[in-house]
Symmetry: D2
Subunit: 348 residues, 4 copies
């Protein structure tokens, strides 16, 4: 039985980790960390867990926690995980960090985009970027830190990676137009996220400045051997709870058909349990992945302008956060990668 | 391995049966019946099942089906199940009928409220009303037909049953004000159920005439030994996918406190896995049960008017349809009652 | 040109007053009061008003304001209006108070239910309860304070008033089950009102304790000559922006048909511009009144239980707040009652 | 008093024309045409109009209608308007066609993209493309046919036009990612538009094939003197009733700042009542234009990739359909362009 601690268990992603791990046969959660709700019953904060979780919320004392558990999930604001880890802790437990602290390999880019000082740059190199479908080989029982990718980045990278890697598209022309449900904005009490502000509206935000931009650039840069890749990433807020939809555009470098594109996607994802390459002509829709760890990918060659349109959809709280974290945990502990994650999408 | 056939697999309840059974370790679905989509791939109708279900939709030939499976779920319009069953079939397979065909013991009431002739009244007596928490003892391996209760009735009966049974309230004063998400209206293409008609609106419907009324009356009548019980049941449509909330009112017959009321609920439900009696002062909310088979129950004594307010919430597609059907199946085959149904509610 | 000041112009009701008055040909708003956004441009707080309102938010100095305007709308938390008014002010301007400060004639009931001390009880008697359809005669150019009824109370009272007044129903058996969109909860930054908390869920709240209860009791008590009327009022939160739906139940005191009930409603409302008594068998739906000052009323005799079901729907921000306030203003200044309020409902 | 007839009055756009014209002081609607609801009371089809419209739905006999009215709005499926008009009719009344029949100047492109034969190509040349902000001079009392632009095209063209016209961007690199509320899909009873199918989901559709593409290309082609302009237009469906948001991308041809971009927008739109050019750094949101005829425009220079991001938002049923049609009517009859259209946006 793997003993799990969660720091930040009362955020939406934290609650989703709890939901998934309650259905994981090899795991027991022993620490529900939450600064905001310390000493309160977890099931009073998230009543979906009434009679399923009896625990009380704990603090985020990672030192103590490291003595009690095998793996820690940190679902916390940027900077917190980096401020807590040290060698002593890392020698005792594995860390799966759902924040951005260890995602970017270039600490300067981190500090520039996140506008905070990185408190533990010495661990950046060893941290593995936990996009399992791409970095599976590096996520092993020897890994100490997994930087779990976020929702926008997971969708964007998985949608674009094979096309960039195989040189079908010109990476300098990539435009990513992303749309997200509102759970990605977190559970903080802000006027902008009130029901009446979000419902019946949509907007772009963080235009030209969103922090997920350099992460996508870095990872796609690896795919095409470029360290100066620049692309446009524009996130939008949509009135729904869960779901990310990415519509990406790029100039084609080759004359290809939809079938050719599918063949390339299949080359990379045919054996991936969680990536579903859709048939030609079918567009991904977030309703078909809700509640599951699937990513659905669609594509359309636009011959009139010689561009490729690529689309990806996932549930931001599952494959875009908690599900991917559990997938990483499975890899870290040598379990079947989809253990506890074989949930069929829930519709409607 | 229990072999399952579903007639009406392409309705919302049918799809939910599929979702739940895919996570049930003792079951294999071998027949996806659907008149509307015959010969089409099931996963083309419900793309959430892409790469999870490879089957093609079949007809509703129950004779043939009976030779292939151990149990048939009928998630079909009223009247269809009754028109298909016969002795030969019932001797081969068990039927779990999600329609109303075998719910009402009085065939005249059925024909009056549903305005159709009952095609198989000879099986009404042996059919068990499949509200497991109340009729568990009658749902055994000898049972041939289970009449699976609907969403409104399950919520209403479970919320009111202990209070009626124990004589805390005057059954002649019961008023049930019920609110439902829109998946209860089914997948038929009707203007009234279009997104723009339902979204940002609410309404009562079937006021004084809704067909679930006599079913609630009949079952609560059993609880208090009355065959002439009459109550008010008013359903409302609310702009959300899933969820039933029942707010029920009745005159108190005894001087009780909230604690007393809880004690009565606990007497009936303390050991029930799927019924969660909430703490005093906590109101049920549908978000806390979504995707799960739980029913949450709250209550409030209103001393100024000497009435009791009772509230129940569940997911209409799970405990209100497919989940309850699987729960019944587990009982029929001697499995643990919550096998395949231990899903934590999904929030948000 | 009537000069208007608004205290609390940056709440949802305040913004709705602005929307309506921009379309009122006899009015000019000269003071946009807001404690939270003082000195900020109003159109930066509510961008719907970009290029329509150039003003900057002011404080709530009612003394100064009284010198500049003819009428003040106070759309503020309970207690504020009572703490600001005095004789000097009331001799200069009219006050239309959208809070509860002057709605209840019994100050003890106010202090008990609102749990605050009333700062200006001396004005309670002269304040007119501004439900125009019932108190029209008292809302004149001599009136100094109008207590503008709230959303739940307006719907409940208009729906029940003729039935109580005419003795069709037993007032001691009234049960009001009310459902509200979320704008009624205001623009405060609370976790409970975040999009993801409200969306795809519903709940009862304030069960047995909601502050609108005594207001409804007081007004309906006048209708039947009772000062001890007690009823049940249960509000619910529904995932939509605007709209109140009231479903009310009571025992019939007379043998009546739906036609008889309609005749009574027509007696009271036939000439009312803003009250639409629906045809027999038609239920009100909030979508049909959105954005307008209409109240739609439906009804159904339930002969099996000898009860009457009454239903009312309105837009909580219009007839339930700002629209009614403008209607009151029109009466105070001798304008046609529907001036500026002849907006057709917007659908979808 | 201008006498108006509407063919297709029972679609969403038709109902919105009715809503707007009820508030227009110079207009009387005398013909509510609807094939589907002929002889039914209009207010029974759209109950928002109860007690506001007493008329019964008529057929679409344009000959007869032409004798009774001054102007006909056709809010009908593609092809119908073209099949009804003739010289006799055009000599009697003006036609404002909300369908695509007369929008495209090249009949071959029409027939290729719409896959129907054009029944009245002889009138294409004289029809004026009714985007008032661009073609105002051509919409006069001598105009017989106005081709009223659709929602996607209005948003896209107004957002891109000044940038293309002034040569700030390379028109061959334009990518338009558009998101729409669901009312744009119409009131037809289709499974794909049911509440439960649309709610909590989003998707792209018509990728590479949407019929609005050539219309945008044609109009922007005029702006830059190109008849072979090709661009990408990708529409998405979002779970909300009203609202279009366009996010458009193009390569910059000049080194400009956000201030420079604003200056160009202001050059074109400063005096336009209905176009609101937002301040630097502010993104348009559909909630701020709901119910109104405004278009809000935002922009962001992305210097890292030397591209320009342009954003436009409007209410698809107002400026994207009925409001623009009324704006055109005002021009045709020499009325102030914003007569009846000075509604402030409604929020929330």
């Amino acid at each position: 039985m793997i003993k799990v601690g969660i720091i930040g268990a009362t955020g939406y992603a934290g609650n989703e980790i709890v939901r998934l791990l309650l259905g994981h046969k090899d795991v027991k959660i022993v620490w529900f960390g939450s600064r905001s709700y310390i000493d309160q019953k977890y099931a009073d904060v998230y009543r979906n867990m009434f009679q399923l979780v009896d625990d009380v919320c704990m603090d985020d004392n990672m030192e103590e926690l490291a003595n009690q558990v095998d793996v820690i999930f940190t679902a916390t604001p940027q900077g917190l995980c980096a401020s807590l880890v040290n060698d002593d802790i890392l020698n005792k437990v594995k860390i799966i960090d759902l924040s951005a602290d260890f995602r970017l390999k270039d600490v300067n880019i981190y500090e520039k985009w996140y506008k905070i000082e990185h408190k533990a740059p010495q661990y950046i190199d060893e941290a593995v970027y936990g996009l399992c479908e791409i970095n599976r080989d590096k996520i092993t029982k020897d890994t100490r830190i997994v930087a779990n990718p976020g929702c926008y980045t997971t969708t964007s990278i998985l949608t674009l990676y094979p096309m960039v890697k195989e040189g079908l598209i010109d990476p300098d022309t990539i435009i990513i137009d992303a749309k997200s449900g509102t759970s990605g904005a977190g559970r903080g009490a802000k006027v902008a996220n009130l029901f009446c502000e979000v419902n019946e509206s949509m907007k772009a935000y963080g235009v030209g400045t969103h922090r997920h931009t350099p992460e996508i650039e870095e990872q796609l840069g690896y795919a095409c051997g470029r360290d100066d890749l620049k692309l446009i990433f524009t996130p939008h807020l949509v009135p729904m709870n869960r779901g990310i939809l990415v519509t990406a555009y790029a100039n084609l470098k080759k004359d290809v058909t939809d079938d050719d594109v599918k063949a390339v996607y299949d080359k990379y994802y045919k054996d991936e349990y969680f990536v579903r390459v859709l048939d030609k002509g079918v567009c991904p829709e977030t309703r078909w992945v809700e509640g599951s760890n699937f990513v659905d990918i669609g594509y359309k060659v636009e011959p009139r302008t010689h561009r490729l349109i690529m689309m990806g959809a996932l549930d931001n709280l599952v494959k875009g956060a908690a599900g991917q974290a559990v997938q990483n945990m499975n890899l870290l502990f040598g379990l079947p990668e989809n253990e506890g994650l074989q949930l069929a999408p829930m519709f409607p």
